[in-house]
């Protein structure tokens, strides 16, 4: 394996790990958010009949919605990172092929 190939492999590993960690973290946040959504809904239910009850319910609903958006956004980011990494790898391979062809 050439130095360039080794460096690229390291880059792939590092970036891959970063992307995975990000995915996991947002997944955990999503899990915690579900619990908070439920707790807020329970508070809303307890305060039903008061002016603040429906607003709490709205907060609960909007938090759930916000997390869905955030999860999608994070998925897009991870895909973007992986796509960019793919382009990097492809570009490197192309350069490698060009160099090899020039040497013939």
């Amino acid at each position: 394996m050439s130095i360039e190939e080794t460096l690229l492999a390291v880059e792939q590993l590092e970036v891959g790990a970063l992307a995975r960690r990000l995915e996991d973290s947002v997944g955990e946040l999503d899990f915690s958010a579900r619990q908070t959504v439920e707790v807020l809904a329970a508070a809303a239910l307890a305060a039903a009949g008061m002016e603040s009850g429906p607003v709490l319910a709205e907060c609960s609903r909007l938090l759930a919605q916000r997390m869905t958006t955030l999860s999608a956004e994070s998925e897009g980011v991870v895909t973007g990172i992986r796509d960019a990494l793919g382009i990097l790898v492809a570009a490197d391979q192309e350069v490698g092929r060009d160099v090899a062809a020039a040497g013939k």
Partner: protein
């Protein structure tokens, strides 16, 4: 995730809901209190979790920005930027929601459980609903509705217009003003200030969860820059050991304050001011001692959120005994920081209308800092000031000690100032020189004196006592610690 909570019985905004007790009073006021408490805690923790992930996204961003170029690389960095912004916003909105539930939610809960007049409950409910609408607006990403209604009956301290923070001369050095001012802001106004003033994490009067989130990010920056790596690494490590811990302040040199939990929601808070040789690198020792005092005062092994302990290393302690013994200058120079810190804790805590107990304990040279902090007529916001193993409180007597009683200074009384020491501890004898003032464990000072000498301890039989007495005050299950705990168990 499912956009709707499992419990679809929660009322919707469109429902025509009877208002106040004239309509249908919730059957169980106690249930409201419990669920509001749970909701407040859950929102705060989720906000912290989001802030932590924000820091992680920061590192992804930095990594990519440093190493990637080209169109695809730039695009990836841009999207990470956007995600970072979304997460930080969400974190801020959750802190807002938690803050509103803690303050306005508590007021409503109290009005309900106290069986107050209808209009009191209606008013508290109306104010809470208005502030929750601000939270909902922020979560929906449509910006907060007008502050009208939310600030009904609650003019910003200082008479400023809370809805227009940019037009207000914010008094950054007045924690009581700032606490009220910050609380009156809507989520977007808060975010704007956070972007404008990244040093808000060290600003007394800002809620602890928000400070913690800002300071953790700041700590990461310091670590990246390798400014004071040993101090900052120690802080990072300490925080990582327990997710409930909070970083209430941190600076480039490593001065910091850490808490075992959220002081704003605690029943009582104990702040520990360490002495000679203490530094951020040894913050875990100060924190452990503070936790031991909390446990002794509450009689609990794991006081948890009942008693939140704070290790306040907000000053550069004298590195050696010679430095400590020859000058009170370091105590004098940092006394105002401790005063401001205590006022900030008190001010944020009082916003919900309930005053939790806050005791301050100065150990060794920390007592000099504590005494100096209470030596001006503005006073120190503390229910008890405990001096343990004091070489001198920086003043001659109780007559020079003042209490900040909800923003008004008044002379401290004897029960409020406690001097505690073992008779075999040599450090308090230093006060005979007068260099650091009088030790509160000296009856001439005028404080409540507690003898921490272990029964049966005799230096003639064990000379080591003379060396160890000063360092053993906070050992779990020890006689001195139980006596300190007993002194703090009494009513505030």
């Amino acid at each position: 995730m499912s956009p709707q909570p499992e419990n679809s019985a929660a009322p919707s905004l469109d429902q025509d809901v009877p208002r106040g007790r004239g309509g249908s009073l919730p059957a169980d006021a106690g249930h409201i209190v419990t669920t509001f408490d749970l909701a407040e805690g859950a929102a705060s923790r989720l906000g912290q979790e989001a802030a932590d992930i924000g820091s992680e996204v920061d590192s992804v961003h930095d990594f990519l920005a440093r190493r990637w170029a080209g169109r695809a690389g730039r695009e990836a960095v841009r999207r990470v930027d956007e995600l970072q912004m979304s997460i930080k916003e969400l974190s801020g909105h959750l802190f807002f929601l938690s803050d509103v539930l803690r303050v306005e939610g508590s007021r409503l809960a109290r009005a309900l459980t106290a069986g107050g007049e209808d209009f009191e409950v209606d008013d508290a409910d109306r104010v809470l609903a208005a502030r929750l609408r601000q939270a909902a607006g922020a979560l929906a990403g449509r910006g907060a509705p007008s502050s009208e209604g939310a600030s009904a009956g609650r003019e910003a301290p200082g008479g400023g217009d809370a809805g227009q923070p940019d037009c207000v001369a914010v008094q950054w050095n007045d924690p009581r003003f700032l606490a009220g001012q910050w609380h009156s802001l809507d989520p977007d106004q808060r975010l704007r200030l956070l972007r404008q003033y990244p040093e808000l994490g060290n600003t007394d009067g800002i809620p602890a969860d928000q400070r913690d989130a800002i300071n953790r990010e700041r700590l990461d920056r310091y670590l990246d820059a390798q400014i004071a790596p040993a101090a900052h690494s120690a802080l990072k490590e300490y925080l990582a050991e327990d997710p409930r811990r909070m970083l209430l302040s941190v600076d480039a040199e490593g001065k910091a304050a850490v808490a075992s939990g959220n002081p704003d929601t605690a029943v009582r808070v104990l702040s520990f001011v360490p002495g000679t040789g203490s530094e951020a690198e040894s913050i875990s020792l100060s924190a452990e001692r503070a936790e031991n005092v909390c446990a002794a005062a509450t009689g609990a092994q794991d006081p948890g959120q009942q008693c939140v302990s704070v290790a306040w290393q907000g000053y550069a302690a004298p590195p050696t005994l010679v430095d400590a013994g020859t000058s009170a200058a370091r105590a004098e120079a940092n006394a105002s920081e401790l005063r401001s810190f205590a006022a900030g804790i008190d001010a944020v805590d009082r916003l919900d209308g309930v005053n939790a107990r806050h005791d301050l304990l100065g150990y060794s040279y920390g007592s000099t800092v504590l005494g100096k902090a209470a030596s001006v007529p503005e006073g120190l916001a503390a229910d008890r000031m405990v001096h343990v193993g004091s070489p001198g409180a920086g003043v001659a007597s109780l007559a020079e000690q003042w209490v900040d009683d909800n923003g008004r200074g008044r002379p401290a009384t004897q029960p409020e100032v406690i001097g505690a020491a073992s008779r075999w501890d040599a450090v308090p004898w230093w006060s005979e020189t007068g260099i650091l003032g009088t030790s509160p464990s000296d009856p001439r000072f005028g404080a409540t004196v507690i003898d921490l000498t272990e029964p049966g301890e005799n230096p003639l039989r064990n000379p080591g006592v003379l060396i160890e007495a000063h360092t053993r005050y906070f050992e779990p299950d020890s006689y001195p610690l139980s006596e300190i705990g007993r002194a703090l168990k009494g009513p505030a």
